[in-house]
Structure formats: structure tokens, C-alpha cells
């Protein structure tokens, strides 16, 4: 009991003097040895981690076995998990998420790979300029972009995209409003949104390939595409795997565009797992079920990532 009181007294002393450096020196003199310094340096990080990551994860497990009520929750065993696996909407959201992922992630990889390859032979200043141009949409806020796309998808004939397809003689579409096109609209938005990050990562990797490999291949009379296939693709495999895995992890958690653009509709055609969990938690306040579903999602992501590393990462060294 004496110690905190002393510390408090010291604290008020320092405040009265108003000299922070004195406080620092007082503390600094008490810390002896590198180990103590190290613990002081990581203290804040550990507290933040314990409070806002570790505790919530443990808590999520507990809540997933409960019927959550603000005043006294009750344990209901595996009921939340049973409900999750028996819920057709949960499976539909998994299906939607997989469709979205399959349509967006590989296309994004191919596009950014292609752009990086094309940037490669250009002069330095052009490389920098294109990097900046392709990165620009990354810094724009997702909410702002979703607002813009909402108007691009305006279902009226005057809508930008409807005007555009009109030039090709295609009829007006109610882009976000029908089950036929709503998922495609979200996918198109992903295709045309920013690939800046992966382009720059690919380009950095491309510039890291030593010229001697190309020279050796040329002596053997290799064509451009042979060099691309036999040198560039294997060399960039770790990069591709990294972008692929992070892309899929990100895509499985996608929430914002579905929430802001379609709200998951129409008829849940664009309800992704991330949005379903959000709705269960913050629209219906079914915290238990939301927690159970989020843990199932975490397990799926972990399994998918593991499989990718096991099968695609076999001959990749890190």
C-alpha cells in the first residue's frame, strides 16, 4: 500500500514543479539494466495488445458459447455454432464471398503484374510518374469512392455506365438493384479500383532480377515470352504468393463496399460473410452468433492460407 502512495506523492510533486524532464530523470535513475529498459519500451505496446487484441479474442470465444445479454449472459453450449451451420444465409454469404474472391483476386494479380511488366522498360521518370498515377486511388477514402460509384451505377438512362453501354447498343441496367448484376457491379468496382500497391511491389521485385539471367537466356536464343515464363514468373513466385495470400485474406473480410453500396441486397445477393457478421452483431445485436460466425471465418481463413503455403509455397524460400 505504501508504494502507490509514494508514487502518487512523487507524481503530484512533479506536476507542481511542472518540469517533465525531472520526472523522466527520476524514472530513468530507477531503471537499471537493459532488461528493465526493454520492458519499459514495450510496456505501452503490450498493454494495448493485451487490452485491445488478446482480451477481445479470448472474450470472442467465451461470447460464442453464450446468449449475450448486457446484464448477465447465459451459457448455451454450442447452440450458436449449430445455428450458424444450419443457417442457409450463412452458407449463401460464404458462397458470395468465394465468388467475389475468385472473380477479383486473380484478376487484380494479373492486371498489376501486366502493368508492372509494361512499366519496366520505360525511363526512370516515366516509371515514377506511372507509379504515382496508379497509387493515387489508394489514398482516396473508400467512403468517397463508394459515393462516386453509386452515381456511376445510377440506374437511370442518364447514368454514366448506362450511357457507356448504350454506345454499344446494350440496354439500360439497374446495376445495383437486381440480383443479376449487383455482384458483378461490386466486382467491376474492384477491378477498376486501385492496384497501386501490388503494382509497386511487383515492380520492385522485377527490378531486383539480375540482368545476367536475361543475358544467359538470350545467348540460348530465348524470346521475350520465354524469358517472361522461365525467368520472371519463377523469380516473382514469392511476391505473387504474398500478394495472393494477402489478397484472399483481405477479400474474405470484405465489408465496406457491400455495406455502403448495396447493403447486401438485393435478396442477399451481395451479402458477404463480413457483412453478415456485422448485421448480426450491430443490427440484430446477436453478439453470440456473430462471435461464433467470426471464429468460423477465422478458421476458414487460417485453413485457406495454410493450404496456399503448403501447395503453392513448396519451392518458395523466405
Amino acid at each position: 500500500m505504501a508504494q502507490p502512495a509514494r508514487a502518487a506523492a512523487e507524481g503530484s510533486n512533479i506536476k507542481r514543479n511542472g518540469v517533465w524532464s525531472k520526472a523522466f530523470n527520476a524514472i530513468a535513475r530507477k531503471i537499471t539494466g537493459d532488461g528493465a529498459w526493454a520492458y519499459a519500451f514495450i510496456a505501452v505496446a503490450l498493454v494495448v495488445y493485451a487490452m485491445f487484441t488478446a482480451y477481445p479474442v479470448v472474450s470472442a470465444f467465451i461470447i460464442s458459447f453464450q446468449e449475450y445479454k448486457p446484464l448477465g449472459s447465459s451459457f448455451i453450449g454450442l447452440e450458436n455454432y449449430k445455428e450458424t451451420f444450419g443457417d442457409s444465409l450463412f452458407w449463401k454469404s460464404i458462397r458470395n464471398t468465394i465468388i467475389y474472391t475468385v472473380l477479383t483476386v486473380p484478376v487484380a494479380l494479373v492486371l498489376s503484374f501486366g502493368v508492372a511488366i509494361l512499366i519496366l522498360p520505360l525511363k526512370k521518370w516515366l516509371q515514377t510518374a506511372f507509379k504515382a498515377v496508379y497509387y493515387l486511388p489508394v489514398v482516396a477514402s473508400g467512403v468517397a469512392l463508394s459515393v462516386v460509384w453509386l452515381w456511376i451505377y445510377d440506374p437511370l438512362p442518364a447514368g454514366i455506365l448506362n450511357q457507356f453501354i448504350g454506345w454499344f447498343g446494350i440496354d439500360n441496367q439497374n446495376w445495383l438493384g437486381t440480383t443479376k448484376t449487383s455482384m458483378f457491379s461490386l466486382v467491376l468496382m474492384a477491378w477498376l479500383s486501385s492496384h497501386g500497391t501490388s503494382i509497386i511491389i511487383y515492380l520492385a521485385a522485377l527490378l531486383g532480377i539480375d540482368n545476367s539471367y536475361y543475358e544467359a537466356a538470350e545467348l540460348d536464343g530465348a524470346s521475350f515470352f520465354q524469358k517472361l515464363w522461365h525467368i520472371v514468373v519463377p523469380f516473382l513466385k514469392p511476391t505473387t504468393l504474398f500478394l495472393f495470400v494477402t489478397g484472399i485474406i483481405g477479400s474474405f473480410q470484405v465489408f465496406q463496399n457491400a455495406y455502403l453500396m448495396t447493403g447486401g441486397g438485393p435478396d442477399n445477393a451481395t451479402t458477404m460473410v463480413g457483412l453478415l457478421i456485422f448485421n448480426n452483431a450491430f443490427k440484430y445485436f446477436e453478439f453470440g452468433e456473430a462471435a461464433a460466425q467470426s471464429l468460423v471465418l477465422a478458421a476458414i481463413i487460417a485453413i485457406v492460407s495454410f493450404l496456399q503455403f503448403k501447395f503453392a509455397g513448396k519451392d518458395v524460400e523466405y
Binding site: 537493459d34 532488461g35 526493454a38 520492458y39 505501452v44 505496446a45 503490450l46 494495448v48 495488445y49 485491445f52 487484441t53 488478446a54 482480451y55 477481445p56 479474442v57 502493368v115 511488366i117 509494361l118 512499366i119 519496366l120 522498360p121 515514377t128 507509379k131 504515382a132 496508379y134 497509387y135 493515387l136 486511388p137 489514398v139 482516396a140 477514402s141 467512403v143 459515393v147 462516386v148 452515381w151 456511376i152 442518364a158 454514366i160 450511357q163 477498376l192 509497386i200 511491389i201 520492385a204 540482368n211 523469380f235 514469392p238 511476391t239 465489408f255 457478421i277 456485422f278 452483431a281 450491430f282 453478439f287 462471435a291 460466425q293 467470426s294 471465418l297 477465422a298 487460417a302 492460407s305
Partner: protein
């Protein structure tokens, strides 16, 4: 010589090829930049309801009336920008300070439990945010009861594991000899951190500061969860409110979107180098 022939083909052919490449790259760039272009030029239109307006790809009017309309929507519109600024700057500063301190400890100081603790931190990066969102919400709103306050917006992002990892990766490459000689000179660990590590890590910390600022400026989800009074919302949440309240006002919506995005554009153009460096720093080797 390289993947592309640069010297072994004739000058005109080289010129034609590179021009063709630039044209292709520009075409795709235009497609990805189009939403931003459309947003900015449309924001200068008149604030009339969409039924009467027709979209144009070229700027026809030039008026700030839609911006005025956006700011008149709520008495807190300016406050949203200020809130975003306060939150983003706070998160930026705390991340740079605490992530660099922890990064230094994890990379250069030997202490008991170092590897276990770091592995524990890293494991957090694999957990999808959906897992923590519900307990975090309960913690902040029901237990701490700090809904609608700056601490509720700042505390969960005070220092992120990603930034600690970034700092550790970089500081690991600082030669031990420099630290040893500082010790011989009589520096304690805190002095080593301020006088040796900090100056040597300036670039990576600048990158960290910028990316962290950008992320918290643009973040929507968490501020949306923990703020329900207009005066405490950030610009991203405010923009969403505006959109739901004024579904037919096209130009003002574009003005709002522009307002929320322009500060980042300005920052990007003035500090481009750090942004572009930030993508690859500590990302992958390969």
C-alpha cells in the same frame, strides 16, 4: 540485356514500342482514375436534385455552391474534419513513438521472453478484425463507457502490431557496433534510443507516420461503430450520414466526397516519395 530489348533494336522501333506501352498504361490509368476525376469535376455543379441534372464528363459549371450545401447540411461539418484531423494526428504520433520504442527493444535489446512476446504480437496480425469487433465494441461502449469520445476513437489504434514489425525490421539492420560505442560513451538505453536509433530511423518513421495517418483518416468502420452523435463523428462517417440524408443531391454528395479525399491528395502530392517508398519498405523481399 534485359527482359526488354533496349539496345539491340533500332531507334524508331524502340520509340514506337515505348509509345505503344505508354498509351496502354495511360488507358488503364484513365479507367482507374475516372471515378476521382468524375468526383472532382461534378462537385463544382449546381446543388440541384439529380432528376433535373444530367451528368457530364466535362466541367460545365464552376460554382462552389455544392460545397456550401454540404457544409450547411450539418452545423458539425467542419467539426468532422477537425475530429478526423485530431484522431489521425494523435494515432500517428503515438504509433511512431511507441512502435519505434518497442521495435528498438525487440530488435536490439536482449531480455527475457523477447521471442515469445514478439511471436505473441505477430500472431495478432493473423486474426480477422471480425473476431475482435464485437468484444472490442462491448469493452469500449459497455465496460469503459467512452462512446463518443476521442479516447474511444484513438485508444484501440494507439500502436499497431504492423508498425512495431516495420520498426523492428528496419532497426534490426542498424549495426550493433554503433549501439555498443554509445554504451561505452555512457549512454543509457533511453539516450541510445533518442540519440542514435531515432536519427538513423528517420526515413522509416516518416513512412510509418504517413501511412498511419492515411489509414486513420480514411477509416470508416470503427468511428462508425463508436460514435452516434454528430459532433463526435469523423469526416468519413459524416459523409455517409450526408449520403443517406440527401440521396438525390448529386453535386453536393460529390463535393462531400471531394472534401473527404482532398487532404490525402494534397499530402500525397507533397510527400509522394514517402508514400511510394512505404509500399515496399518491410513488405517483401523478392
Amino acid at each position: 540485356m534485359a527482359l526488354f530489348k533496349q539496345h539491340t533494336i533500332s531507334k524508331p522501333l524502340l520509340y514506337t514500342r515505348n509509345t505503344a506501352i505508354v498509351v496502354v498504361l495511360l488507358a488503364f490509368a484513365l479507367a482507374t482514375l475516372f471515378p476521382i476525376y468524375f468526383m472532382v469535376i461534378s462537385s463544382f455543379g449546381d446543388p440541384i436534385e439529380a432528376g433535373a441534372a444530367s451528368y457530364s464528363l466535362w466541367p460545365r459549371d464552376f460554382t462552389f455552391a455544392s460545397y456550401k450545401f454540404f457544409f450547411d447540411f450539418s452545423e458539425y461539418s467542419f467539426r468532422w474534419l477537425l475530429n478526423s484531423l485530431i484522431v489521425a494526428v494523435s494515432i500517428m504520433v503515438t504509433n511512431v513513438v511507441f512502435a519505434s520504442l518497442a521495435g528498438y527493444a525487440f530488435s536490439k535489446i536482449k531480455f527475457r521472453g523477447r521471442n515469445v512476446l514478439f511471436a505473441l504480437l505477430l500472431s495478432a496480425m493473423m486474426i480477422p478484425y471480425q473476431v475482435t469487433q464485437v468484444p472490442l465494441y462491448i469493452l469500449v461502449v459497455n465496460i469503459f463507457q467512452i462512446e463518443n469520445t476521442y479516447p474511444s476513437l484513438i485508444l484501440p489504434s494507439l500502436v499497431t502490431v504492423y508498425n512495431i514489425f516495420l520498426a523492428k525490421q528496419f532497426m534490426g539492420s542498424i549495426p550493433n557496433e554503433i549501439i555498443e560505442s554509445a554504451k561505452v560513451e555512457g549512454c543509457n538505453q533511453f539516450q541510445i534510443y533518442t540519440k542514435v536509433i531515432w536519427p538513423l530511423s528517420k526515413t522509416v518513421l516518416a513512412v510509418m507516420a504517413i501511412l498511419t495517418f492515411m489509414e486513420s483518416w480514411n477509416t470508416f468502420f470503427w468511428p462508425f461503430l463508436v460514435t452516434n452523435t454528430m459532433d463526435m463523428q469523423t469526416i468519413q462517417v459524416g459523409l455517409k450520414n450526408f449520403r443517406f440524408a440527401n440521396t438525390t443531391y448529386f453535386a453536393p454528395m460529390m463535393a462531400g466526397a471531394t472534401i473527404s479525399a482532398v487532404p490525402m491528395f494534397v499530402l500525397f502530392f507533397s510527400l509522394q516519395k514517402y508514400f511510394l517508398e512505404g509500399v515496399t519498405v518491410g513488405a517483401v523481399k523478392g
